[in-house]
């Protein structure tokens, strides 16, 4: 896969699917696909700088969501046991329905965390930065500088620590960090000064488009867009009807136009343009197939199959094999990663 946008589309599809269903069976299939893609990426050598075990973290999330819901939500008719007394929130029936409901919440959250972890594994940092819209080019430059300067900062920290150790400095109390942190901060600020002079000497931000006064209209559009979206969302909550969606879609369009307007004034030089490959096409086709299966009307399958609610009495969630098989198409990026040769990590 060569296009970062193919991964972004896959991620967006997973998030949408996790969002529209509460059926634990479908949730587990989605989670299974995400985990398999993740394992495929890891099998190909991708790794993250994380100090904690993701599996334990996911386990804790599901346990926390389940336990908390069981203890504080006393709805449902299948009572496991009763906590006696008058402890606020806690006392009352502990039900199977509350347990299943909590576990479903945990599954959704775990699925979201896992899908973002896959994105972090799949895309190198430079690809993630390249996804920053053109309207935010000053922020993209700051981010690029920070990312580039980070290894230097870590190296400087090691050098300062070694130099202080040679002088007999020991780390015993919090105050002992001062001789390490201050040289790091002052050294960094000195570096910023040199960097700014080098950027100015090379003509950074000296073009007319970059330095021209900011137009007020795209900013108004963006603000109006966000305000409309929030108003639409509140309407949607308040009226439980479809009227709010008109405002939400209009607001979203206004925000996009504002972003495009702001971005068209800034120039971006691309040295290595990402092309679309057949693998990217296959990933998008698979992703779309999975999403369409959930949204498109299917003979004999009602949409209520996605809206599983264990209350008031637990029952087996509905399941359509066709939809289940279609969701499995989310696995395509993992299969491609395993069975196609790639020149390097990202291309």
């Amino acid at each position: 896969m060569k296009q970062p946008w193919a991964w972004v589309i896959w991620l967006a599809a997973v998030l949408v699917m996790l969002t529209i269903t509460r059926n634990p069976l479908y949730l587990m299939i989605i989670l299974l696909c995400v985990v398999l893609v993740w394992l495929a990426l890891r099998a190909k050598g991708a790794s993250l700088a994380q100090s904690f075990s993701w599996w334990k973290f996911a386990g804790w999330i599901i346990l926390l969501a389940t336990g908390f819901n069981m203890l504080t939500s006393h709805f449902g008719e299948t009572v496991l046991f009763i906590i006696p007394g008058k402890i606020p929130l806690i006392s009352g029936n502990i039900t199977v329905e509350a347990m299943v409901y909590g576990a479903t919440n945990g599954l959704i959250l775990t699925g979201m965390l896992a899908s973002f972890t896959v994105l972090n594994l799949a895309l190198p940092m430079r690809d993630l930065i390249s996804l920053i819209p053109r309207a935010f080019f000053p922020i993209a430059v700051v981010t690029s500088i920070a990312v580039s300067y980070l290894p230097t900062t870590l190296r400087q920290f090691r050098q300062i620590r070694e130099a202080q150790e040679v002088r007999g400095h020991h780390m015993r109390t919090l105050g002992d960090w001062l001789p390490l942190l201050m040289p790091l901060l002052v050294g960094g600020l000195e570096h910023a000064m040199q960097l700014a002079e080098a950027m100015t000497a090379r003509g950074f931000a000296s073009t007319r488009t970059a330095s021209s006064k900011r137009s007020i209209y795209p900013r108004v559009l963006m603000l109006a867009g966000v305000t409309l979206m929030i108003a639409g969302w509140l309407m949607q909550l308040g009226l439980a009807g479809g009227e709010g969606w008109i405002l939400i879609v209009s607001g979203f369009m206004l925000t996009l136009i504002g972003l495009w307007w702001l971005g068209k004034g800034s120039q971006r030089t691309v040295y290595h343009r990402r092309v679309w490959s057949w693998q990217d096409g296959l990933v998008i086709a698979g992703t779309l197939a999975a999403v369409i299966a959930m949204f498109a009307p299917m003979p004999g399958v009602g949409k209520e199959i996605f809206y599983y609610d264990p209350y008031p009495v637990i029952q087996m969630p509905g399941f359509s094999l066709r939809i289940g098989l279609a969701i499995l198409a989310l696995i395509v990026p993992g299969v491609l990663k395993l069975f196609t040769r790639q020149a390097n990590h990202s291309s």
Binding site: A49, T72, S73, P138, A146, M182, T200, S206
Partner: protein, 290 residues
């Protein structure tokens, strides 16, 4: 003046919108009794919250990046964000106790010295860069960037209070405690708790879902707050207390020398700011063309 006023309107509207979006679990139960808001739309709520919060953040970033065209400010922010991300990198590699994190120390000081806009960018970009470096990009990121940005953006509001105390302190000149650092430490402590409470608002609807203990249709605001407090006490109080204590200790131990260094470079970078404490008060000695 007109542009500044407009800028202030954008900051306020986007910030209030963000707060409104974060607080929706508190007013949803009242709405749901009138509408019969069902479980079937459960998942769309937190997802929509993340999307809307992300968009509010975009509006704020667009506004805050306005003066960043200056090369000195770009370089300064880039390097400071790198230093702060390195601190977070250490924290990820060697986790501290509870919610202890060293990143707010510099965000507060940079916001306090260089102004609300730079503080906002420092907070938001620190979280962005450290997420890129540590593989922490996720649905929580807009909320984290938004809140950390607020930490930096709100720091200049301390200036008038500190100025008043400093004048009184100069008149008496007997106090051994630096009132500036003391106020910054209290500010850091408050944000230690607030940051945790705000970020909890992001994950709370995901963890507890739209029905059950948080959104019982028709339950009063008081009951919903009671549920949230229970959730906060169980999951976050100790964690956030350690974060708040960490902020206090770091600001007390390193605040004074770090402030001196930042102010020295502020003069070298030819920054100047007016003393009204409002966001967007930073000015540059150098032309915008850099």
């Amino acid at each position: 003046m007109k542009s500044r006023l407009f800028s202030l309107v954008i900051y306020l509207t986007a910030s209030i919108s963000g707060i409104l979006v974060l607080l929706y679990p508190f007013f949803l139960p009242t709405i749901s009794v009138q509408t019969g808001f069902g479980t079937y739309r459960a998942g769309e709520l937190p997802a929509m919250m993340t999307l809307l919060l992300g968009l509010c953040l975009l509006v704020l970033l667009i506004e805050a990046q306005g003066p960043v065209m200056n090369t000195k400010l770009i370089a300064l922010l880039g390097v400071l964000v790198a230093i702060n991300s390195a601190l977070r990198f250490f924290e990820t590699a060697i986790p501290g106790p509870g919610g202890f994190t060293p990143i707010f120390f510099l965000i507060i000081l940079v916001g306090y010295v260089y102004g609300g806009r730079v503080g906002f960018l420092m907070g938001a970009l620190t979280l962005l860069v450290s997420a890129l470096v540590t593989g922490g990009v996720g649905p929580w990121l807009p909320g984290q960037m938004f809140t950390a940005g607020w930490v930096g953006m709100s720091a200049p509001i301390l200036r008038p209070a500190i100025k008043t105390l400093r004048i009184r302190g100069d008149q008496k000149s007997t106090s051994l405690v630096n009132p500036e650092i003391l106020i910054l430490a209290i500010f850091g402590m408050l944000w230690g708790f607030l940051y945790g409470a705000i970020m909890n608002l992001w994950q709370w609807p995901f963890i507890v879902g739209p029905q059950g203990q948080s959104w019982v249709a028709g339950s009063s605001l008081g009951v919903t707050i009671q549920h949230y407090l229970a959730f906060y006490l169980v999951t976050s109080l100790v964690w956030d207390a350690i974060a708040a204590l960490g902020n206090v200790l770091l600001l007390l131990a390193f605040g004074a020398p770090a402030l001196r260094a930042l102010r020295r470079f502020q003069r070298r970078f030819a920054f100047s700011y007016s003393n009204d404490g409002a966001p967007g008060t930073i000015q540059h000695g150098e032309g915008s063309s850099g």
